[in-house]
Symmetry: C2
Subunit: 396 residues, 2 copies
């Protein structure tokens, strides 16, 4: 057996498991079924693009967690998880996308056999990878279990980053610097969106001899809508040439071992309109105000209030949240789905929490994004990358 390739020490995995178990105990859970690929990776090291079939990690009352997935992905688990052969259960392939049998039927039988199919079982009710059908299967097959909503239980344990995690996030910061630089170098009227995206991928992936590493895939593809399309925050790209007289935001992330550093900048081709100049002034001033209060002891909503207050003074109303925690992520989202930087979120900020301070504006017929990924410090934030914070004007 080849040794698995782990990106963290065994003691770090032990600590993560212990933190998770402490929360399980606090909630009185006997068992936890973890379906989020980011949580699975964080607990076990499991890595692979196999989340399009049902899979999970089981955390019981003691011993290592157990990886459960499609039989043919067992080899992937053997090569990436720390638990060894005993911690891997594969289900037969005729359970895959079958209308007659569900992988969770198979899991239920396994749990019952091991006497784990009863008691209080936590499930990630609102996770992409825990479908209504998966839950129905567990309910049907484990009549002695009582299910509790454990959505984001593990995500919350991930909120404060270890030094080893911060190292990867800072490395990702170097990559996103390279990506934004490439955009500035290449963007000009006439360049086709798809060609610019090729440049962005190139900058996100290539091994850099100075840095000593290359890049990984991001949980979200590059977003780069132009002109009126930029009023929609989640359009991707087409193969049409970029036009003078339009603003385009570039929301991209550098990624190392699935740890993300997202960063957005906005480019205006030609002479920027007053709208964009005003947006730049408001957003940069607002960001300063937000970053000012981004320190341990303050709350999530403090950052939002500080930012929104400045925007309002400039006559801009932002009615969506202005940031979210980041770290280890798989598609479809590089956010951690716990806290939100918005009014009403009174979560107290702790040192080494990490956020994407998403200060984007999406208006009726234009959009603007200048953002920072930050680490919360005792006295203020650390920006995880260093990219000039301004509207980029290219008058070609």
């Amino acid at each position: 057996m080849t040794e698995p390739k782990l990106h963290f020490s065994r003691s770090e995995y032990d600590a993560r498991l212990a933190r998770t178990r402490a929360e399980m105990e606090r909630r009185g859970l006997d068992l936890l079924i973890v379906t989020d690929p980011s949580n699975m990776n964080w607990l076990t090291g499991y890595d692979g693009w196999s989340f399009y079939v049902h899979q999970c990690v089981i955390v019981g009352p003691d011993g290592p967690p157990v990886w459960f997935g499609r039989g043919q992905d067992g080899n992937g688990a053997r090569r990436t998880c720390w638990m060894g052969e005993a911690g891997i259960i594969g289900y037969p392939d005729h359970y895959v996308q079958s209308t007659e049998r569900h992988p969770m039927d198979y899991l239920s039988a396994q749990l019952t056999d091991q006497g784990l199919g009863r008691g209080r079982i936590g499930v990630e009710m609102d996770n992409y990878w825990f479908t209504a059908a998966a839950f129905a299967s567990l309910q049907r097959n484990l009549p002695d279990a009582r299910f509790e909503d454990a959505t984001a239980l593990v995500n919350w344990q991930r909120a404060v980053k270890s030094e080893a995690e911060l190292t990867y996030m800072r490395q990702a910061g170097r990559i996103v610097e390279r990506m934004q630089q490439r955009i500035f170098d290449k963007v000009e009227p006439g360049i086709r969106k798809c060609d610019l995206v090729a440049e962005i991928y190139d900058a996100s992936l290539r091994y850099d001899a100075d840095l000593g590493y290359g890049g990984d895939y991001a949980a979200i593809v590059p977003l780069l809508p132009s002109g009126p399309d930029a009023g929609a925050p989640h359009l991707t790209w087409d193969d049409q040439p970029m036009k003078s007289g339009e603003g385009t935001f570039f929301e991209v992330a550098g990624v190392v071992h699935h740890y993300h550093c997202p960063l957005s900048r906005t480019v205006f081709l030609g002479k920027p309109t007053q709208t964009f100049l005003d947006a730049e002034t408001a957003v940069l001033e607002g960001m300063e105000a937000g970053l000012e209060v981004a320190k341990a002891g303050n709350t999530c909503e403090d950052i939002a209030h500080a930012f929104f207050r400045v925007l309002k003074r400039h006559g801009i109303e932002k009615d969506n949240r202005t940031g979210y925690p980041i770290g280890l992520s798989y598609p479809p989202d590089w956010g951690e789905r716990t806290m939100s930087l918005r009014p009403g979120d009174k979560t107290v900020l702790e040192e080494n929490m990490t956020f994407h301070f998403m200060t984007g504006l999406w208006m009726d017929d234009w959009g603007f994004e200048i953002t920072e990924s930050i680490r919360i410090g005792a006295n203020g934030p650390e920006c995880l990358s260093n990219v000039p914070r301004k509207l980029v004007v290219k008058d070609g």
Copy 2:
């Protein structure tokens, strides 16, 4: 209002809706809640990387479908859907990833207001984008509704492709030819995996003046495990140099307007081992046998049986399905999740169904993939791309 950018004619969307309604009627459904982004796009044109928050398309008894999603994504719907303003409902941002309120609570209220919150409502029970919590919200808020499992109801309507869809898939075929060619040109001992992935993305995206189009993102990132790692079908890449004496399979897809043409080839660096030469012989012969029966009137399992029979004669047992339908897809899967090419699937093949004939082998310490994407014809298959079907040997 800008006109939405549609990739199909209005009459094609009308036909899709009619086909979906006919199946709803057959099943006695009053309403259908469609959460799969591929189904949403197929019915309405909606495009955007917004599926990390709850969203859906509602198909009622008459009139155009309705897009329901996060308020800020409404602009995306306005720019990509054919239904116009009346067919777009946005929910307020404080429903996003909230622990107190669920977007489906909001949808339920809307349905109730419109008198649609009762009767038989179809939901995609086993879809990534329909979580256990989403279903619980609907059940809680719509006590007069009876929910029916409509998983893959729309996916099945997508099985037979229109001429316009086939055009995009053939275009995607040209792109995957370019991608595989690039791999052959660049792969050699010493090239780092991440650098090769940058080349693959470049070839998948760039505008080609001869073709007249560029590429889109794929629902799965490139898979390219080497040596013993290739025994695991879903590992992605790292930043290490490729080694002589190892086999690597490259599973990638060309994509145009979200229509996929996947294709795998295997490269051996250095003198191939007998294992790989034998695998090549068995797989190529088996593929011929499978392709022979890939025609209208035969069944899904006919292809699998034909392929497995040859493999068996060569002493190879494949215990997982050997293909799946393809077409329009968003992450995490470029399969359509209806049919499977495996024993037991007696679905009758129809002209213009399209499949990825996934003839991959994943053994204990090696893997091998030579595949084809095909269109089912009246008398035999059309390969959607033209890439030499052989083990690529590069003796560097």
